[in-house]
């Protein structure tokens, strides 16, 4: 677990749990904004790809998995305690992710079900976009929830003696 993180030459102290929680809340706020933007704009347009790039950037910013440059170190490293914490975070995330995916599936089946033929054009348009918005939300949760749980639950740490880095 890192105690500090350098982003664009700015050193961010993440030793305190309260700071990490604010950071997680901010990142999920950004995810929610991007998801809503995806919903209102057509996600399959070129703007949709820009939004996708923003999702990918934020997900990499959180680190974990195979990314070593984010808030969390790569999953390949770490001692036994960190591995145990990671496994537990994945167990918790798995349960929540399950619930997040369900509305997207229901929306998909409503969209392709027989009742959609009787819906007004506005409702039809809404139902066409709703599954994608929900699916993107579920995909974001799937990709980032274990990392968010680790960042949220790890206790306060002693800040290391790393000197402040100057912008390059």
């Amino acid at each position: 677990m890192k105690t500090a993180f350098v982003f664009l030459g700015i050193r961010i102290n993440i030793a305190s749990r309260a700071r990490r929680r604010w950071l997680v809340a901010f990142i999920y706020g950004a995810f929610a904004a991007l998801d809503i933007a995806w919903f209102w704009l057509d996600g399959k347009s070129s703007l949709g790809w820009l939004l996708f790039a923003a999702f990918a950037f934020l997900a990499r910013f959180m680190g974990g998995r195979t990314h070593d440059g984010g808030l969390l170190p790569s999953y390949e490293g770490g001692d036994e305690r960190e591995r145990t914490r990671r496994y537990y975070a994945n167990y918790l995330a798995y349960n929540y992710f399950d619930l997040a995916f369900l509305p997207a599936i229901l929306a998909f089946f409503v969209l392709h079900g027989p009742d959609i033929r009787h819906a007004s054009p506005a409702v039809h348009l809404l139902l066409e976009r709703l599954p994608w918005g929900l699916l993107i939300g579920a995909a974001i949760l799937y990709y980032t929830l274990p990392q968010a749980i680790v960042l949220w639950t790890e206790p306060d740490m002693e800040p290391d003696s790393m000197p402040a880095l100057r912008p390059v």
Binding site: Y87, N90, Y91, I105, F108, H112
Partner: protein, 181 residues
């Protein structure tokens, strides 16, 4: 982590038998997912659509594996350990709290079981990466390609996988059980 020594008369002590059971189970679920878009087109006049009945059957199948209750093949994953701290009993009556505490005591997982449970969920979570990629490709494909049915089947299969993959990995990997003395 395995709750039962036999299931519908099939002995579960040997790993090989358990693996055959897992294969049969997934063949059934894949068949349901493949048939579901076709069943969805049958507009029956009866009380429930055939698709809904089939879906209920598939979810019933996933519950048989366990993990979410005490009657399945795999032990309930949510049994707490003393290390995990007390459960949240907010907004419960004293009678409910007593009943929950008793159930928690009976359902407590030991340290090895908790480690196995967490490791299996980690593996299942990682495996979903590989399954999610073709799902997204089919989902974003244009309607004119005629992949709507395939997309529906894959989404449903993905849900089944989320529901049952950790239990399947456990049944697949747990070693042979010792014969009772």
């Amino acid at each position: 982590m395995i709750n039962k020594r036999s299931f519908l008369g099939i002995p579960l002590a040997r790993r090989r038998t358990r693996r055959w059971l897992v294969v049969g189970f997934w063949v059934l679920l894949i068949a349901v997912a493949a048939l579901f878009p076709l069943l969805l087109r049958i507009y029956a006049k009866s009380f429930v659509l055939p698709a809904e009945l089939t879906l209920l059957f598939a979810f019933f199948l996933t519950t048989l594996l366990g993990g979410d209750g005490q009657k399945g093949i795999v032990r309930d994953f949510h049994g707490r350990t003393p290390e995990e701290g007390p459960a949240d009993y907010t907004f419960m009556t004293p009678e409910d709290i007593a009943a929950h505490k008793q159930a928690d005591k009976e359902n407590r997982l030991d340290e090895r079981e908790v480690n196995r449970r967490n490791a299996v969920h980690y593996k299942a979570y990682s495996a979903l990466n590989w399954i999610a990629v073709p799902l997204v490709l089919v989902a974003v494909a244009d309607r004119s390609l005629g992949l709507v049915d395939l997309g529906q089947s894959m989404i449903l299969l993905f849900l089944f996988i989320i529901q049952a993959l950790p239990q399947s990995i456990l049944l697949w990997t747990e070693p042979d059980m010792e014969e009772p003395q």
